[in-house]
């Protein structure tokens, strides 16, 4: 008897009676609403990651070769309507249109915290709120964070070209982008330029981040190399979750590995994992370098060597 066939038959019999319950869609949506809030409560880290990292990873991860098979028979959708079940929490107040100094009291009064995001725009008065998440009237757990977007004017800079990117500019003009957070990056792979954005505290207090991109991709959200510098508490927290193969950078301990979106280590380079090197040049300092899957694929087998060269080129200045 053919083992493959018998095995297939055994597996089929094992799950013949297993059926997804019709309420699954409803439960997924409820869970999703809870998580979206938790997401933001966890800090702007995810915002930063979403802007700089996940988008390109994501786009490439879903462009696999296998043909789509979905949308097959448009079967009945028994539970789509019954979805609007309230989660416990408070109603989010409307803060769009308020001035910056009015937002915090308004949110506090309703039991929320605020997370800020700035956008350069001429469409609204400087210092007013243009957007909020969750939207006004949505129900969110008490103590969770409402993300508000503040309209700002671009700094008067004659050399600045108007751009449409909405990436944060927390650290201002970094020149070549190689020096920030008290750290200088002496080596970068050939052909990369500063991504012209920077984030502060997106990875915990105190942390700084930016990217270097291929010039053709600047502004598209696709990065090549991202660096995060952690100081103080954020550095200690980062140490606790370091994963990968041990590496040594100038005598200091670090970890190098390919991490999936879910933070799992995997052995082989693929479109859904990010080559990540984190090390600890000082007790109160951690530096993390991430290489986008697209760029790692471009470098091929040199990716690990290159990421270590970037790390070895780092000089801590203060």
């Amino acid at each position: 008897m053919n083992v493959e066939e018998t095995l297939k038959e055994a597996m089929a019999s094992r799950v013949a009676a297993v059926q997804a319950p019709p309420s699954m869609g409803q439960r997924i949506r409820r869970r999703s609403r809870r998580n979206v809030v938790r997401f933001r409560t966890a800090g702007a880290a995810l915002l930063t990651v979403a802007v700089a990292g996940a988008v390109p990873v994501y786009l490439s991860a879903t462009s696999g070769p296998a043909p789509a098979q979905v949308g097959a028979p448009a079967a009945e959708t028994p539970e789509s309507a019954a979805d609007d079940i309230a989660v416990s929490g408070n109603a989010v107040p409307n803060v769009v249109g308020l001035r910056v100094d009015e937002v915090l009291p308004a949110l506090k009064a309703a039991g929320f915290k605020a997370d800020w995001k700035k956008v350069v725009t001429d469409g609204a008065p400087h210092g007013t709120i243009t957007e909020q998440k969750p939207a006004a009237g949505a129900v969110a757990p008490e103590g969770s964070t409402v993300e508000v977007t503040i309209a700002t004017r671009a700094a008067p800079d004659p050399s600045a070209t108007p751009t449409t990117d909405e990436l944060p500019q927390d650290l201002g003009d970094l020149g070549d982008g190689r020096t920030f957070g008290g750290v200088h990056f002496g080596y970068l792979p050939a052909g990369l330029e500063w991504g012209k954005w920077s984030g502060k505290n997106g990875f915990g207090d105190t942390s700084y981040t930016t990217t270097w991109d291929e010039p053709s991709k600047t502004g598209s959200g696709e990065y090549s190399v991202q660096a995060v510098v952690y100081q103080g508490k954020a550095a200690r927290a980062r140490r606790g979750i370091a994963k990968g193969d041990p590496v040594t950078i100038h005598g200091r301990q670090g970890y190098l590995g390919r991490l999936t979106e879910g933070g799992e280590l995997v052995a082989e380079r693929a479109e859904d994992n990010t080559l990540t090197l984190v090390w600890f040049p000082r007790a109160d300092r951690a530096v993390e370098i991430m290489m986008s899957p697209t760029f790692a694929t471009k470098l091929g087998d040199a990716d690990k060597t290159e990421i270590q060269k970037i790390a070895e080129g780092v000089v801590v200045r203060n």
Binding site: M11, A12, M24, A66, V70
Partner: protein
């Protein structure tokens, strides 16, 4: 997310959720109830990105998320015997030898999670080596060797059994 996105997601669930749940049960070896929780949490991720992925093979993406979650789950909880002792299905398919079937499932349950995932995708989902590799994020070579080793272990066990019953 637009109403049309929501409707398409419901359609997707109606068409695929049972298959994904079955795959999860086989890969993680947990009870259908536990696997359901796992599939829900994996599909939540799909839902979150739905407007972006719905036109770009969402099934492959969903399967990858579910299988990876099932592998981590199997590793975390080391549920290897559950698959053997889970209650038999209400509507068993015809099988010449239920004893043999149980034995195979027991052996399947003892394999490392990733190897088991390879066997489930290859022989139950009928996926090619390349598709399995894509779903698991590894090379086709790895799929080939893992499948061969998994089958070899099961064959060895079968041979022993035949030796005994003969």
């Amino acid at each position: 997310m637009t109403e049309e996105d929501e409707a398409a997601f419901d359609e997707f669930l109606a068409a695929r959720s049972t298959a994904l749940l079955r795959t999860a049960v086989l890969v993680c070896g947990a009870s259908p109830h536990d696997a359901e929780d796992l599939v829900q949490s994996a599909l939540e991720k799909v839902y979150r990105h739905w407007p972006r992925i719905r036109r770009d093979n969402p099934e492959a993406y969903a399967r990858r998320v579910v299988v990876n979650a099932a592998i981590s789950r199997a590793r975390r909880r080391r549920v290897i015997q559950e698959i053997t002792f889970a209650s038999p299905p209400d509507t068993p398919v015809e099988s010449p030898d239920p004893g043999l079937r149980e034995l195979l499932l027991a052996e399947l349950g003892k394999l490392p999670a990733r190897m088991r995932a390879v066997l489930v995708l290859r022989y139950w989902e009928d996926m090619s080596e390349a598709e399995t590799a894509a779903a698991l994020g590894c090379s086709a070579g790895t799929v080939k060797s893992q499948a061969a080793r998994g089958l070899a272990r099961i064959r060895t066990r079968l041979a022993t059994l035949e030796g005994v019953s003969a």
